[in-house]
């Protein structure tokens, strides 16, 4: 199995993602420059965190027009796995691969902190090896992470169990105090209707080393690798 990490001008978590795939997943991984369009050799691509195009206009709004994004759409339509982390989540929403939008945080601040996130569904290739309603500790680092969507979209996300992660307290309680950015219903991550595209604001790739305060993110990448191995 082969992974690709897409690099936009302004991506800054690309090396973290690369490190996790090569060291913890132990699989080949390439950086893919945003002007490249050939994704045919990859089984999964990661759209990493950062500030693509300086977050100009809206976070993720300009990255959506990079040549690689048409290829990512085709890649996703073929059922291959796409993981968008932080700015990657914002880009997936702007590109229409995931519904809704990520707005300025409720309290307007850029938040850089460790948060607790509850696993809401294990029915995705990214989370099937996680325990349902278990709590993962992962960092967030964003100013635009406030997930919004209309009522019809929210109803659809809820009914089809497409909300994959929610901000919670350490005991898994979904409180308003545990919601760092004002996201609707504490939403931290969602998937598409085919469940092969996942976007989340927390950074699992920055939570893979005990030295960095948490290694809870490894499970997500193990799930991902396990799903690809099973499909091979």
């Amino acid at each position: 199995m082969k992974f690709g990490v897409i690099v936009f001008p302004g991506s800054n978590c690309d090396h973290d993602a690369y490190h996790v795939i090569s060291k913890h997943v132990g699989q080949p991984v390439d950086f893919i420059w945003h002007r490249d369009t050939d994704l045919s050799t990859y089984d999964a691509v990661i759209i990493p965190g950062g500030f693509s195009y300086g977050d100009y206009l809206r976070a993720g709004a300009l990255a959506r027009f990079s040549p690689v994004m048409n290829s990512v759409k085709e890649f996703a339509a073929e059922g291959k796995l796409v993981l968008g982390i932080c700015n990657g989540f914002q880009i997936l929403c702007e590109a229409g691969l995931l519904p809704g939008a990520l707005m300025r945080n409720r309290d307007l601040h850029f938040i850089c902190d460790h948060v607790n996130v509850r696993v809401e569904s294990t029915d995705t290739p990214f989370t099937h090896e996680l325990k349902l309603v278990s709590v993962l500790r992962m960092p967030i680092a964003h100013a635009e992470g406030n997930y919004v969507c209309d009522d019809a979209t929210f109803e659809e996300l809820s009914r089809k169990q497409r909300i994959i992660f929610r901000y919670s307290d350490p005991n898994g309680q979904l409180t308003d105090a545990a919601n760092p950015n004002g996201s609707r219903d504490n939403i931290a991550g969602i998937c598409n209707s085919e469940r092969n595209v996942l976007g989340l604001m927390p950074h699992p790739e920055r939570a893979c080393e005990d030295l960095l305060g948490s290694s809870d993110g490894r499970e997500l990448f193990r799930s991902l690798a396990g799903a690809l191995a099973a499909a091979a």
Partner: protein, 118 residues
């Protein structure tokens, strides 16, 4: 080197550009292009149903300043676009509206309004 709206001074080795006062970038869009351009003004605003924490913070500051007659402030974005005016104003408007819909606004959270200035 020709930079419209700029004046070159000094020797070649010590080249610098002085901007004219009230430099208007829109006045030079197209550079040496001789086509005429008209100005499209695009206003992007949050949908009424979407909370605007920045607008709320600004309103709070306005209240601290002593203004009591302000009931609401919503923050938005404003764009000026120089559009080829060789066609008619309707074509320019259609182009500007497409830009506003596809790029400048996110239809999930924002509305837009276009004005054409000839």
């Amino acid at each position: 080197m020709s930079v419209p709206g700029a004046v070159a001074t000094g020797s070649k080795r010590n080249y610098r550009i002085e901007r004219k006062a009230h430099f208007d970038p829109l006045a030079i869009v197209g550079g040496t292009d001789t086509r005429s351009f008209m100005k499209a003004k695009v206003y992007v605003t949050l949908k009424p149903s979407v909370l605007d924490p920045q607008g709320k913070a600004i309103k709070h500051a306005v209240e601290l300043l002593g203004f009591s007659g302000v009931s609401d402030i919503r923050q938005g974005k404003y764009f000026e676009i120089a559009i080829d005016a060789s066609g008619n104003a309707e074509d320019a408007r259609a182009d500007a509206e497409k830009l506003a819909r596809d790029v400048l606004s996110n239809p999930i959270i924002e509305d837009f309004r276009v004005e054409i200035e000839q």
